[in-house]
Symmetry: C2
Subunit: 366 residues, 2 copies
Amino acid sequence: MDKKSGADPGHRLNTKVKIEDVAREAAVSAATVSRVLNHPEIVRPELRDKVARAIANLSYTRDSAARALKSGRMRTIGAIVPTLGLGIFAEGVEALQNRLSESGYTLFIANSQYDQRRELQEMQSLIERGIDGIVLVGGSHGPELRALLRQANVPVITTYVSKAQGGIPAIGIDNQRATRELTQYLLRLGHVRFGTIANVPPSNDRSRARLEGIQKALAEAGIHLQPTQIVRADHSLAQGRSALRQLMNDHPDITAIICTTDTLAIGAMAEARKMGLDVPQYLSITGFDDVELSAQVDPPLTTISIPAAEIGRGAADYLINAIAGMPIPKSVQLPHRLIMRASTAPPRTKSSTPRRTTTKSSPKRR
Amino acid sequence: MDKKSGADPGHRLNTKVKIEDVAREAAVSAATVSRVLNHPEIVRPELRDKVARAIANLSYTRDSAARALKSGRMRTIGAIVPTLGLGIFAEGVEALQNRLSESGYTLFIANSQYDQRRELQEMQSLIERGIDGIVLVGGSHGPELRALLRQANVPVITTYVSKAQGGIPAIGIDNQRATRELTQYLLRLGHVRFGTIANVPPSNDRSRARLEGIQKALAEAGIHLQPTQIVRADHSLAQGRSALRQLMNDHPDITAIICTTDTLAIGAMAEARKMGLDVPQYLSITGFDDVELSAQVDPPLTTISIPAAEIGRGAADYLINAIAGMPIPKSVQLPHRLIMRASTAPPRTKSSTPRRTTTKSSPKRR
DNA sequence: TTGTACGCGTTATCAC
DNA sequence: GTGATAACGCGTACAA
């Protein structure tokens, strides 16, 4: 494999231009070149210019490996998200990367597929890479991961949740409070019989918090959800459809369905339409996330909006500050917004609203 | 934990454990530890075990910076995508990362927002980071970027297109051929009057190729598209809606609308429904990408499916092979698939199909 | 203000 | 099969 010819130390044909070459070209020492690069203000202007020209001439770029070795800093942040397939995560990652890029950081991305074992592996790999900070999602992380983090002594922040857990600070929204408010809104509309479609990838604490928020609000109103009123589903449109069907079969009297995700809600709406159940006249449906589509479906979906870009930016700022030794908050709770659109309405009354609707034709009297 | 050395060194808890420490713990030389790590098979089993235990004990992880400095390899790949917001890109990146991870590589991600200047900046930054390979999207890249690539001598591959451009090999589908086939399908159904909604972020050659494919197929059938039959739009549902409205106002006789993107198509369908134009009885609409939603909308969308995951995996394999000096193909064309769903049908005949439809009620005789 | 000399952690190449 | 050693390229005390 390695044909080892003494004359060829590097593997690349490409003449790797190093700091020494620049020094020679500019007739200064390597130390001066380094100074121009790192502390330009302490170098005499004329020399500085000469060096700068030499750098440009040879189009020199410093070797980041050597730099990192010497300084112990990689100027690199890692992020592990469950999946990029979710627009809400993709948006956050994008904002994160943009903000990091502005500050001279580069972003390693990895995905765990909601699997704690994979998350641990990726974390291991990132730490070996010498990352200066790490962004996680959610608060469900195994003890090994936390131990690893502690040992590596790497600043970390978790996102899309608002409460620190296991010593990991968080930036995001209060999921439980959000669904609680949403549920209270439905209660105010007069709904009494509810169904819930909850997405349950293992280790998804956001979803759990959302479900708890629903139950809490209902409990406060003296309503208790039967197990069959809570359908658990994978996070897909198709599962939203089948969940709705199951829910309406088991509990035909339900008037409002709360989904822990827009995707599930949109699937549920599609199925409701197919079953001839008018939304929102016959059935109110709500989502969570406020994805782009939610404003465009018919009827537009009532949902909770998450400030994903702000979360990404905030995570970047947090880590940059933490690395710089600046004071940092424990956790940051960002505001969600309840977006009231047309998929919710007061519950049907037994007499007034037919189960089967023809078109959006004549709205019933109410 | 370690009582013998406890007295003297007085180190902090988070002292970086290096290969020497492991060597001492295992009573071997540092070289042997390195060998256990890199070529375990040439070390005597008993020693190997001892070293392995020492590594575990001290939970040693090698310093990748030093490793990179020595080897000249960062074991790092960079990817610059226009945006992660597009499911199709997110899916590709995810597959890319997974495959890279299996091979011990880590992925830097950056996004360009369809801006060549930003792409150049990010590329600059990635090259300074010493990445071993780079993944791009599409074939529209400025000459500076190509010069940069050549000079850095970094293996590169571009994705979602099938033809090498400017010396950059590609892996993806033939966008032009795909829309050509799709258009031919519509022609076979009997359509003669077409409208097109094309997304046009600057520098998006995929979209351009798709549009060309449409025009080519139509030209072959002796049909020429007026400028007003081609509406250009940003890549959003809302723009799809307004584009459809504009198209149908300018050309009420259109029977088929080809969109260069599912998102646009779904927006167009929503607006068609709102205008009372039945799809597909009155109007056929097609998309491109086959996003999850497309199978779930009503009616399910006829579209082109892109093997995004395969593209991501293929790009990873290509770079890994290129870095290892293995033989690599010039470009790889992956198959797309024409997915015929229910948003397309033969064109309406003047008499038989009413413009306003009530529901999906009784299908008209034909 | 500038130059010299050394160390960072790892690994390939020797000699044993 | 294993131990010692010399790079890899940069940053920075320290000397000048």
